[in-house]
């Protein structure tokens, strides 16, 4: 039984200001660090494409099921985000190790010939993010102090 209440002058001003700012709503990217490679730019895709990520896609278990190349892609192109963090965890689960001097991921290709307290030496597979591919490196000295 309250019926409508007339808007005061002040409310009409507020409404006008709100309507004006409604034309430039905050954008998701406004609250996120600058994304070097993938700015947060929602773009409409056909409705029959999945519009939301698959369930549990923000878990390590989901990332573990992703291909190694996909994990490297996420690691190098989504830096500073939870996705990079999850990709790194999944890579480690797949026995990759991050070398902080070369900023690259390494994986033992065979049992190292030499193992000391400070390093191990042998043949490794590494992921070359500049040429974007896995390479073999023989006689490589993997110093533990550069292990992330």
């Amino acid at each position: 039984p309250l019926g409508p209440q007339p808007l005061h002058k002040e409310h009409r001003f507020q409404l006008a200001m709100m309507e004006a700012s409604f034309l430039h709503l905050p954008h998701p990217a406004d609250s996120e660090r600058i994304r070097t490679y993938f700015p947060h730019n929602p773009c409409p895709t056909p409705a029959y494409y999945p519009q939301v990520p698959p369930p549990h896609s923000d878990t390590v278990e989901f990332f573990q099921r992703l291909g190694t190349e996909t994990l490297f892609f996420i690691f190098y192109y989504m830096e500073g985000t939870k996705a990079q963090y999850l990709a790194a965890k999944a890579l480690k689960q797949k026995s990759w190790r991050f070398h902080t001097k070369y900023m690259m991921w390494f994986q033992r290709h065979e049992e190292p010939k030499t193992i000391t307290e400070d390093y191990e030496q042998g043949t490794y597979i590494y992921f070359d993010y500049e040429k974007w591919g896995q390479r073999k490196k023989e006689g490589f000295t993997f110093e533990y102090k550069f292990l992330e």
Partner: protein
């Protein structure tokens, strides 16, 4: 005004210098190396010599960053990403400088210096925003201020020891700033404001991470600022697209709180219902539907549900508002308590309505906060009185008391508008199983049973029904009250003419009745 000659140029030089240092590859982790070098330059330029110069420096930097954004926004044919990268290139560097100055001002243990500087800078940015908002009017743009606040907040909530030590003061500083910039004060900033207040890091810190829930009352105050702003627009239900967007955003935030922090909504429901317009049924239901995470609610439709046998039903709910203090003026409160104790002065009841009335303007006749406080206080006193006699609320134990005198008097003496607000005040207590839900459910049913006019019974039904026919969620206490009303033959519900006033109403009652049986 009165900036010392040359300060503007000096500031511009330093800001440019810092932005380029910030973006250098060798700026170091979190720009610490660049910062050490830059502070030397600030000293050299005398910027850090006095408090006044530091203040002017930050204001000028803020204005330069903001102007730069407006220039970028004015440029045509650039994508959102290009626009943002251009703006954020400088804004993020400025934020980093603020964060580093806050972290490293004074020695590590000296938290006061750090917080003072943060409050100063937040106040300066807020001041520039409000002035810009006033000067530019509809041309005002929130982008640069939103970016400064959110990135500074995220920087100052990084997992660093020095920041953990001052985290509560940092959060308090941001809450104060957001309260200064509440939508009623800066409506052009309202969307950014809600985005800031509902940011996952902000909610996490305010409601989950701060120990002993010390952030809850500050966060409640910010939600009240939002409800107060929305009220005039929601009150009239014709929502423009802009208002509807803000309203829907508000519902999303409340849904997150309902799901993750129901106790927060439980403890502040009273404050929220005081400012949410009475016709805003679904939003209010959402708040009233909250119940403690560890509580299991019995299905309200359980046949022969014995509400008074539930273990929690005698527990008083936590209400973090001093609602008694809202019963004004003090003389009225004094008379009320006297009547509750001694049923005198006898004139109290006949004067009650005039004490609640504040205008003769239809739709605005009554003081809603006083009405709400009166009902909750009298109900609270009644529960204590009943418990003091070793009894529990029931249709018989709540009757024939000074408390019920007051409620029955209000039911009979108020006009339709006043009684609607009175019945709303009661219905706002119908929540999860607790002593208030129990008492007020009995009270509403008692008022229905003892009503001396069918209009009162119809209005009680209307108040319940309008809360039931909206989309979910529905408070548990509301459901059990309505089910009792239509099921218990004592209330002769189905015999009332208004139950059959229209086919769709009759069908609705029957559908609810069927789901009950």
């Amino acid at each position: 005004f009165d900036d010392p000659p040359g300060l503007h140029e000096k500031t511009e030089f330093l800001l440019r210098e810092w932005v380029s240092m910030y973006h250098m590859p060798d700026a170091g982790r979190d720009s610490t190396k660049a910062f050490s070098a830059f502070v030397g330059q600030m000293h050299q330029q005398g910027i850090l010599r006095t408090d006044d110069l530091i203040t002017r420096f930050f204001r000028l930097c803020t204005e330069m960053c903001v102007d730069l954004c407006y220039q970028a926004l004015a440029e045509q044919n650039q994508t959102q990403s290009q626009l943002r990268n251009q703006c954020f290139h400088t804004l993020d560097a400025f934020v980093r400088l603020i964060a580093l100055l806050v972290k490293h001002s004074g020695d590590t243990a000296n938290t006061v210096t750090k917080i003072n500087l943060l409050n100063k800078v937040l106040g300066i940015v807020a001041g520039v925003l409000l002035q810009d908002h006033e000067v530019r009017h509809r041309e005002f743009q929130q982008l640069s201020y939103h970016r400064i606040f959110i990135m500074l907040f995220i920087e100052l909530n990084a997992p660093e020891h020095i920041l953990e030590n001052i985290n509560f003061q940092v959060l308090t500083a941001f809450c104060n700033t957001f309260h200064i910039l509440r939508p009623a004060k800066a409506p052009g900033f309202a969307y950014a404001w809600l985005e800031l207040v509902s940011h996952r890091v902000f909610i996490g810190r305010m409601l989950a991470i701060i120990p002993q829930q010390r952030g809850w009352s500050m966060y409640a105050q910010l939600l009240i600022d939002l409800f107060k702003f929305l009220t005039p627009f929601l009150r009239n239900t014709e929502l423009t697209k802009a208002t509807h967007m803000l309203y829907k955003g508000c519902l999303r935030v409340l849904l997150v709180l309902l799901h993750d922090f129901p106790e927060f909504l439980c403890e502040y429901h009273y404050m929220f219902c005081n400012v949410i317009p009475p016709n805003c049924i679904q939003m209010r239901n959402l708040i009233l539907s909250a119940f403690p995470l560890n509580m299991r609610l019995p299905d309200p439709f359980t046949p022969n549900l014995k509400v008074d046998m539930l273990p929690e039903i005698a527990q008083p709910p936590r209400i973090m508002t001093d609602f008694v203090a809202m019963i004004q003026p003090a003389s009225f409160k004094k008379e009320l308590d006297s009547y509750l104790k001694t049923r005198s002065p006898v004139t109290f009841l006949s004067e009650l309505r005039s004490k609640l009335q504040v205008s003769s303007e239809p739709g605005m006749r009554y003081n809603i906060p006083v009405m709400n406080a009166l009902v909750l206080h009298v109900g609270n006193q009644a529960i204590e009185y009943i418990h003091s006699k070793g009894l529990t609320p029931s249709m018989s134990t709540i009757a024939h008391s000074s408390h019920m005198d007051i409620f029955q008097n209000l039911a009979v003496d108020l006009d339709t508008e006043g009684r609607y607000l009175f019945l709303n005040a009661i219905s706002n207590q119908l929540r999860y199983p607790n002593s208030h839900t129990h008492y007020f459910s009995c009270t509403l049913l008692y008022l229905f049973a003892e009503a001396n006019a069918e209009a009162i019974q119809e209005q009680i039904t209307r108040v319940l029904l309008e809360r039931l026919i909206v989309n979910r969620p529905h408070p548990w206490g509301l459901l059990i009250t309505f089910i009792e009303l239509i099921k218990n033959p004592q209330f002769k519900f189905w015999g009332h003419e208004f139950v059959h006033c229209a086919p769709e109403i009759e069908k609705l009652f029957e559908s609810v009745a069927r789901s009950c049986m």
